[in-house]
């Protein structure tokens, strides 16, 4: 009787191993026998996830080569539309015009937010939407106008190809023009390092990118974190899309599917986003 118990338990443990091992291998199995190059470009928020996924795939299957470029959502759409890359990442939903023009197929694999950030040294930690609009349009240009020190506010914004900027402009600024004297940085990472180094700077960045080096600013009482985005409390949300021209095939298809597997979703979570659906 005891022997049977032990055997059963061992069998269960063994099958657990087999099943999970099979599960893990199964996720990367889709790449078995694939070779060639996969080119990805576009949104800068996606890059950490892309890099991690690429690293795992390339480690397991050295015949596959994946290259990742940045550039912003605008570049992603352009390049995938022109056939220069296989996957174009965007941090905003492509417009109907773009979809029609380039025959794009959208694949959303994460939910993210866009949050206002300041340097951790700044004592301003919360702003109302009206204040945010005034600051970014240039109407308020000194920190003392919102309860901070008597220093000029240094605005940071993104370049025109940025999906992050598009979302922020639409949803947080209600499409009001951003002050032209704002410093322009070229990616989420660049925004983070600029704000981290400037005690009097303010900018906006993907919520998934927020870490200890920058301080999130509460908007109308809601702090932009992954939790509040998930719960729907924080309103400035956007999806992370990987777009292809037409239906994806082969290596491209395998990569996109990988993002939806449990392992892919774990990577998405690890980098600070909410896996979607």
């Amino acid at each position: 009787m005891r022997k049977k118990c032990i055997v059963t338990v061992l069998a269960m443990i063994f099958s657990l191993f087999v099943l999970t091992a099979g599960g893990v291998a199964g996720e990367l199995d889709a790449f078995k026998g694939q070779r060639g190059t996969l080119k990805i470009s576009g949104g800068t928020a996606h890059i950490p996830v892309m890099k991690e996924a690429a690293q795992r795939i390339m480690s397991a299957y050295p015949d596959i080569q994946i290259s990742i470029a940045a550039g912003g959502s605008g570049v992603g759409i352009k390049q995938v539309g022109e056939g220069l890359v296989n996957i174009g990442n965007t941090g905003r939903k492509p417009t109907d015009d773009e979809i029609a023009r380039y025959q794009l197929k959208l694949h959303q694999w994460a939910l993210d937010g866009v949050g206002v950030v300041v340097s951790p040294k700044n004592r301003v930690k919360a702003l109302t939407k009206a204040q945010v609009m005034d600051i970014f349009t240039g109407r308020i240009n000194n920190w003392k106008g919102v309860g901070g020190e008597n220093r000029k506010i240094n605005l940071y914004t993104r370049d025109e190809a940025s999906g992050t900027r598009e979302v922020f402009w639409e949803k947080a600024l209600d499409k009001q023009p951003i002050s032209p004297s704002a410093n322009v940085v070229v990616s989420n990472g660049a925004m983070k390092s600029a704000i981290a180094q400037d005690p009097y700077g303010i900018g906006y960045v993907s919520v998934g990118h927020i870490d200890r080096t920058v301080a999130p600013v509460a908007l109308d009482g809601v702090i932009p974190t992954i939790k509040t985005v998930k719960e729907g409390k924080y309103k400035i949300v956007r999806g992370l899309y990987s777009n292809t021209k037409g239906e994806p095939t082969g290596l491209t298809r395998a990569f996109i599917n990988y993002l939806y597997t449990p392992e892919g979703r774990k990577i998405t979570e690890k980098e600070g986003f909410i896996p979607f659906p």
């Binding site: 390339m58 290259s67 990742i68 056939g83």
Partner: protein, 293 residues
């Protein structure tokens, strides 16, 4: 009054010298101070074993190796494109062209030398897009296009140094072989070129240095954030100067920033090494040419 003017000049020159030295010294010291600590195998090869990575048996992630290889291949390809054409052009201008033609071409090449590197990069990009649309859709910004664009960038260097080296030879040297019955071509290959080799080689090495350090051209013509060691010339690739630029504006952790310092130090040492090499070769070749033992 004049005395004070002179004293002032002396004092002024020394101050300027001091200021410049201080500026250079602080830049170098800052880099060495911040980056020296990160110079180890891990910086270059990440978690992969160095030996296996060099033989391309193991992929290197989070290391500088792909960028270093990318820069290396880029430079080799660019020089392969630029050297024959630049060389031949320099020879033509020095030996065959008459005065007015030479003047016209010199003007054109001076302009080429003065064009900002980003405009050359823009040209390379436009060329790639043009070819992509009208010839073959497999042509896109890649290693090949980048090296072509870089070749355009350094072509004037090679042309100019070849031309100056050849023109700098004394008339005696030029005429001796001809007087003995050699043809122009024989004179060129057996006498003139060996004599001006030092100038040409140092020009070549300066061109190599220029290719290695340039960022604007490659930014527009195919360098990417992560691509591993390039497997073909039509593939995207990584390069050291771009890595430094990318890290400086978008580092995601203090460790990455430290890597950036290390990369900057490596690039700096590489360029200084090339520069010293050019100088040494120039000296040695001049020595050999004149004091053939």
């Amino acid at each position: 009054m004049k005395r004070t003017g002179e004293k002032l000049t002396i004092w002024y020159s020394w101050t300027c010298g001091l200021i410049l030295s201080a500026a250079v010294f602080s830049i170098l010291a800052y880099l060495v101070f911040k980056g020296a600590g990160t110079l180890n195998m891990k910086l270059i090869f990440g978690d992969a074993s160095p030996l296996r990575a060099v033989f391309l048996q193991q992929r290197v992630f989070e290391g500088l190796f792909p960028a270093i290889v990318g820069t290396f291949i880029l430079v080799a390809l660019s020089i392969a494109f630029a050297l024959p054409i630049g060389f031949a052009t320099g020879i033509y201008l020095a030996e065959y062209a008459d005065f007015r033609v030479k003047n016209a071409f010199n003007l054109i090449f001076d302009i080429l030398a003065g064009i900002p590197s980003i405009v050359v990069g823009l040209f390379g990009f436009a060329l790639a897009v043009f070819l992509h649309k009208h010839y073959s859709s497999s042509i896109q910004p890649c290693l090949l296009i980048s090296s072509l664009a870089l070749a355009f960038l350094v072509l004037p260097y090679i042309i100019r140094t070849t031309q100056i080296a050849l023109e700098g030879l004394s008339p005696d040297t030029r005429l001796t072989a001809l007087a003995l019955g050699a043809t122009k071509l024989q004179n060129l290959f057996y006498v003139l070129i060996p004599q001006s080799l030092s100038g040409m080689v140092s020009g070549l090495i300066l061109a190599i240095g220029r290719c290695a350090e340039d960022t604007a051209v490659i930014m527009l013509t195919g360098v990417v954030v992560a691509a591993g060691v390039p497997k073909s010339a039509l593939a995207p690739y990584e390069a050291l100067p771009f890595y430094i630029y990318y890290i400086s504006s978008q580092y995601t952790s203090p460790e990455e920033l430290m890597n950036g310092y290390g990369a900057a130090l490596i690039l700096l040492l590489l360029c200084l090494f090339l520069f010293t090499l050019a100088f040494v070769i120039k000296k040695r070749l001049t020595y050999l040419a004149f004091y053939r033992p």
